[in-house]
């Protein structure tokens, strides 16, 4: 099981803990994960398309404000989608480098205690935390908005000079533009600038727009990291492109309608499922649940997604949903699905087969196929041994019989 779950609190131990707010905001309130294919409700709340559609099949109301809500009122948000996708692509790196900064900061803070009065407060943790945080925030926001003439700018200027005079190792690579900056400058001003620049425009000259970073720009000394960055840059461009071209995708399909199954016969339901090439096994309830979930998947995919996947992928998603969602449905449902899954990954491994050995799901055929040779050998051996046995016993009989005969004679 995958326990690697990201959370907004990941940022609380980095050099910019305020990022946890941003991270919280781009999460779905239903699945608590980063929004996937976000859709907007009339009450201006945003959820994953799948999550909210699934919920609306039960309750026609917004999970956040409880106001009435219909599926047809949902609108996809392409911009938010691309913002989140581009955030998702840099999140791990961002987190890693911010953690690194924090570690470096902690080391540095000891030195700074002596000569930097403004930073003093920040280092004394635990005495007056709230005030500190406030001040910290103010400082940060000032630094973001205003030009380098503020104290933040000066500080980082000072720090950067100190850095330069100390060692070159204090430089850190910006995870976004891959240039090297003194850590302090990187963390205080550059990352924000770089992120905003990235989302604004890739191609425009960075120097023009940035409020001239107080630290000198230093080109990355090695070109070895370039190719990886280039891929990243491409990713970002494509997010912008995707957004801009998101309106003329001609791949929109008609939405699947809701169906009232109560008046339908079993064979009619089966027909309906078959017409969508869905499996038709299981009880009536199973089939209805299957159609309903497929409808949610379909509509989310073809109505909301920027890049809809094709139907076979939807069917695969349906199968895995059914496998994980209806364990109580008994052998029938899970059996066929597990078969489907197995057929999908042909390499019917021994382990998998063995796992089902004692259950009804056990696949005899593939088991036999896998051990065909062994079975043949065993059978041959058995065949060989049987006549031999009978011969030997026979010969023993003969041997016994012979002396008897001889005695008689």
């Amino acid at each position: 099981m995958n326990y690697n779950v990201s959370d907004a609190t990941d940022f609380s131990h980095t050099s910019i803990p305020q990022l946890s707010q941003l991270d919280t905001l781009v999460r779905c309130h239903i699945c608590k994960d980063l929004l996937k294919i976000p859709v907007l409700t009339p009450c201006s709340h945003t959820f994953c398309s799948l999550c909210i559609r699934e919920y609306l099949t039960r309750e026609p109301k917004c999970p956040l404000c409880l106001s009435e809500l219909r599926e047809s009122n949902l609108r996809s948000e392409f911009l938010v989608n691309e913002i989140i996708e581009s955030y998702r692509s840099v999140r791990d790196e961002l987190l890693e480098s911010l953690k690194e900064d924090q570690r470096n900061n902690a080391e540095k803070s000891l030195i700074e205690l002596t000569d930097d009065d403004n930073d003093d407060d920040l280092q004394i943790v635990g005495t007056n935390q709230k005030e500190e945080v406030k001040r910290d925030k103010n400082e940060k926001s000032v630094g973001k908005v205003t030009k380098p003439s503020t104290s933040t700018g000066l500080n980082s200027l000072l720090n950067s000079q100190r850095d330069k005079s100390k060692t070159k190792e204090k430089l850190a690579q910006c995870p976004i533009c891959s240039n090297f900056y003194p850590i302090q400058a990187l963390e205080r001003t550059h990352l924000d600038e770089c992120l905003t620049m990235q989302s604004l425009d890739e191609s425009t000259d960075v120097k023009k727009r940035t409020p001239t970073p107080p630290s000198p720009r230093i080109k990355s000394p090695k070109s070895s990291s370039k190719p990886k960055r280039a891929v990243n840059a491409k990713d970002d461009i494509s997010h912008v492109d995707k957004y801009l071209s998101s309106f003329n995708t001609g791949q929109r399909r008609e939405r699947l309608p809701k169906i009232n199954f109560t008046s339908m016969s079993l064979s009619q339901i089966k027909q309906k499922l078959a017409s969508l090439s869905l499996p038709t096994h299981g009880s009536r309830q199973n089939m209805i649940a299957r159609y309903n979930h497929y409808e949610v998947l379909w509509n989310s995919n073809f109505c909301d997604a920027i890049e809809p996947v094709d139907e076979s992928e939807l069917r695969r998603q349906l199968a895995s949903w059914e496998a994980s969602h209806n364990p109580s449905n008994g052998n029938n449902g899970t059996n066929i699905i597990s078969k489907m899954m197995r057929r999908a990954n042909q390499g019917n491994s021994y382990q998998k087969l063995l796992a089902d050995f004692k259950t009804d799901n056990f696949q005899r055929k593939s088991w036999i196929l896998m051990f065909r040779k062994d079975f043949k050998n065993l059978i041959q051996e058995a065949k060989r041994s049987i006549p031999r046995e009978s011969k030997t016993t026979g010969s023993v009989d003969n041997q016994i019989a012979v002396p008897e005969n001889t005695e008689k004679e």
């Binding site: 959370d7 309130h29 956040l64 994980s324 364990p327």
Partner: protein
């Protein structure tokens, strides 16, 4: 076993790393959807100094469906019946998938702090509560000592 949704893993982790004061919730070893919960009686309520045990189960459709919660410790409360069932809007009609285990348990704690005899589940208790509140409160305190004493 069906695979555990990310959301449940995340909630479990957060409950452990950042617990709510006065509340603990631990998943069962064999079934990660089943939680053993304890709630401390809120201060200045008749349940003060009591530690109440509850069980919480996340149904297959969670978070689309509300978690199922029940008191295991006996409690004298107009909105909690003899079987430990709880009358709480967020567990029924007002459930929303934006809520979570944490918020549900907080609501239960709040319910202990402010019993609502006008929307009763345990009718006999509610009646007594309305008729003679002082007596009811003293009875609730007595029960708390009797059944929910700290060990």
């Amino acid at each position: 076993m069906a695979s555990l949704p990310k959301r449940i893993i995340k909630e479990t982790e957060r409950l452990a790393s950042d617990p709510v004061p006065g509340i603990s919730a631990e998943p069962h070893e064999d079934n990660l959807r089943y939680f053993a919960v304890t709630i401390e009686g809120p201060e200045e309520s008749p349940y003060e100094n009591g530690v109440f045990e509850l069980e919480l189960y996340l149904p297959d459709d969670y978070p689309m469906e509300a978690p199922k919660v029940r008191f295991l410790t006996r409690i004298y409360h107009p909105n909690i019946d003899r079987l430990g069932r709880i009358c709480l809007d967020v567990l029924k009609n007002n459930w929303s998938p934006a809520l979570q285990i944490r918020t549900v348990l907080l609501s239960i704690q709040a319910l202990l702090a402010s019993p609502n005899p006008n929307d009763p589940l345990a009718n006999d208790v509610a009646e007594e509560w309305i008729k003679n509140e002082e007596l009811a409160i003293s009875k609730a305190k007595e029960w708390t000592k009797l059944y929910a004493g700290k060990r």
